[in-house]
């Protein structure tokens, strides 16, 4: 699905990613954990193509295609989806308009017809209901005046509507109460199947009580220093990250 080789990236001449190697095959859920400032969110943004960051060297390939220099929107159209840690508010653009624009762009790219309004509404309403959100959510401006939980649910709504091949969840669990965390996790589990992949970036194990990862990676100072299974999560919870820095 996605293969990253020796990826180095910087912002304003400060190197953040110092040689990342990561491969997530189709059908797997991977987790990256690490301290604040270790480069986890930078990795998510660089994969998504955020132009604030400079890729200094390395390769990002999706389904065998090099996407390292690809535009942000083309990466999304290839099937990449970033669940934002801090989704921006865009007053004046309704969720419905935004979702339809995104869906139409995807359908056009995939050579499909535009989704008609009736089907769009039916699909959106079903997902909204599952997420515990009212239909009127679609009329609201993107993330404008949303609570922390609504913002994250909005990201999951987009994830389920756009149905990408790879979902990167950048600290989607942060700032959520237990109920919202369960709802978000349920959405991710609904999304997940044998043909797509998920990369979860998180500080804590609590999301992982609801989503079972296949591989856990620990990132320290811009590098993945250790990979393993859920046992690694428990070790980090118990002992912190210091023992991995040696």
């Amino acid at each position: 699905m996605i293969k990253i080789e020796n990826l180095k990236a910087s912002i304003e001449d400060k190197e953040i990613l110092k040689g990342i190697d990561l491969e997530i095959p189709k059908g797997e859920i991977h987790v990256i954990m690490g301290r604040n400032g270790s480069g986890k969110s930078t990795l998510a943004n660089v994969i998504a193509g955020n132009e604030t960051y400079e890729v200094d060297s390395g390769l990002i390939a999706m389904n065998g295609n090099d996407i390292t220099e690809m535009s942000i929107e083309n990466r999304a159209l290839q099937g990449l989806f970033l669940c934002f840690q801090y989704p921006v508010a865009i007053p004046g653009v309704s969720m419905a308009y935004f979702l339809r624009a995104a869906l139409n762009a995807k359908n056009k790219h995939d050579g499909k017809e535009e989704m008609d309004a009736v089907k769009f509404l039916a699909t959106a309403k079903k997902i909204l209901s599952d997420l515990g959100l009212d239909d009127s959510f679609l009329k609201r401006s993107i993330n404008d005046g949303f609570s922390g939980g609504e913002k994250k649910k909005s990201e999951i709504l987009q994830l389920l509507m756009l149905n990408p091949q790879l979902a990167i969840l950048d600290e989607t669990d942060s700032g959520l109460d237990v109920d919202a965390l369960r709802t978000v996790a349920k959405g991710v589990n609904e999304f997940k199947n044998d043909n797509n992949s998920v990369l979860i970036i998180t500080h804590y194990q609590r999301l992982l009580e609801y989503i079972e990862p296949d591989v856990v990676h620990i990132m320290i100072d811009g590098k993945i220093v250790k990979s393993g299974d859920m046992k690694l999560v428990h070790e980090v919870e118990k002992n912190g990250y210091s023992w991995l820095m040696k």
Binding site: E73, A76, I90, G92, Y97, F98, A105, S141
Partner: protein
């Protein structure tokens, strides 16, 4: 009365001359290019094919057409007089600030005629009145002036939609209006300006409000080479509320200029000014907004907001929101922002597969729509949204 006005204004213009950049209201807008325009040939023998329906008052080069007046559906619900027929100087007087404006006097000194429209008390005006200002210029460098007075009587609820249509050569259109709103009246004044003849527009609108008046001014302005607007409002008695929503779109070397003076002269009044400019290429805009709260105008609630979106590095916005407060129990605020499209918002949209140019357009529309959604009239909002889409599409 007309001759008296003309004589006074002629003397004032001679005294003041064309405004220089030393004047606060003209600091960022030159009047030099306006000097070449001459009023000698305006309004002669101009006929037009279409002057609107029975709800339309059609003005051709500043003068009302008899045809539109005859078929005007509300003519029996109004007193319509020539300004020349008025004897009351107070009705014709305007603000002390306009009195200092040289080009206001230039306009008044050269008007050919003007109308006084008084809405009768108790009459119904369910459908908006359209004012069609038709500027037809067969002569180069024409200056066209108009002066009209509208008086609303107690209980009137009036919607006026003003549209300008320009044809022929570029001209200098000087539009002067006074609105007198008696107690318990509602006035919705929508102004749509869309020009493609490189005309220059200078507007002076003065509103005099009584008790419990609701005044909404909605305006959208596109394709103006030079458009400078003065709005002055006197809230003279308690309980009135004013909302101003203005959206200006400019590109190339167009210049847009809004000067708003809100005089809170009485207690318990509310006013909101909301002006947004979207500028591309080398376009420039000016916002001079001032709220003056007089001594004793307690419980005033006033807010000014000016937001400017620059789509080009060469576009320039000048913003000058001001508060002058002489009362001690008021709520007044003002704010101004100028900047480019938000990079994080663009990234967010693009990360969902929306191409960059579409993402930019979505954000420009969103910025504009926050003003348009405040427009009172659904029709004007829809029309403005169409105009906005056309403008964005180039």
């Amino acid at each position: 009365m007309l001759k008296k006005i003309q004589k006074h204004s002629h003397a004032r213009f001679e005294e003041l001359g064309y405004p220089s950049k030393k004047l606060e209201n003209w600091k960022f807008s030159s009047s030099k290019h306006l000097k070449k325009y001459d009023s000698s040939n305006s309004g002669k023998n101009i006929s037009i094919d279409h002057c609107g329906d029975e709800y339309t008052l059609c003005f051709v080069n500043g003068q009302i057409t008899l045809e539109s007046l005859n078929k005007f559906i509300y003519k029996d619900d109004m007193n319509i007089l020539d300004i020349d027929e008025l004897n009351d100087e107070t009705t014709c007087s305007t603000s002390s600030n306009f009195e200092k404006e040289a080009l206001f006097h230039l306009g008044l000194s050269t008007i050919k005629s003007g109308k006084y429209f008084e809405f009768k008390q108790g009459s119904k005006f369910d459908t908006p009145i359209q004012i069609l200002n038709f500027y037809s210029k067969k002569t180069e460098a024409l200056r066209i002036s108009s002066f009209n007075i509208f008086k609303l009587n107690d209980g009137n609820n009036i919607s006026i939609v003003e549209k300008d249509v320009n044809e022929g050569s570029g001209s200098f259109n000087l539009s002067l209006n006074k609105f007198i709103c008696a107690d318990d009246t509602i006035l919705n004044h929508s102004i749509l300006y869309d020009d493609n003849t490189e005309s220059n527009y200078l507007g002076y609108n003065y509103y005099e409000l009584g008790r419990n008046v609701l005044l909404n001014i909605d305006s959208m302005n596109i394709n103006s080479t030079f458009n400078k607007n003065f709005i002055e409002i006197d809230l003279n008695k308690e309980g009135s509320e004013v909302k101003i929503n203005i959206l200006n779109l400019a590109r190339n070397q167009q210049h847009l200029d809004n000067n708003i003076l809100m005089n809170h002269n009485a207690e318990h009044c509310i006013s909101f000014q909301n002006v947004r400019n979207i500028l591309d290429d080398q376009a420039t805009c000016v916002f001079n907004g001032k709220v003056v709260v007089a001594d004793g105008a307690q419980k005033t609630d006033s807010n000014q907001s000016n937001k400017n979106l620059l789509l080009s590095r060469n576009a320039t916005a000048h913003s000058n929101p001001q508060l002058e407060i002489y009362a001690d129990d008021v709520k007044c605020g003002h704010g101004s922002t100028t900047g480019a499209l938000d990079k994080d918002s663009i990234f967010y949209l693009r990360a969902r597969g929306i191409k960059e140019s579409d993402a930019n357009n979505i954000l420009v529309k969103a910025f504009a729509k926050e003003i348009l959604q405040e427009f009172v009239s659904d029709d004007i909002r829809n029309l403005s949204e169409n105009n906005l889409s056309h403008w964005i599409d180039g």
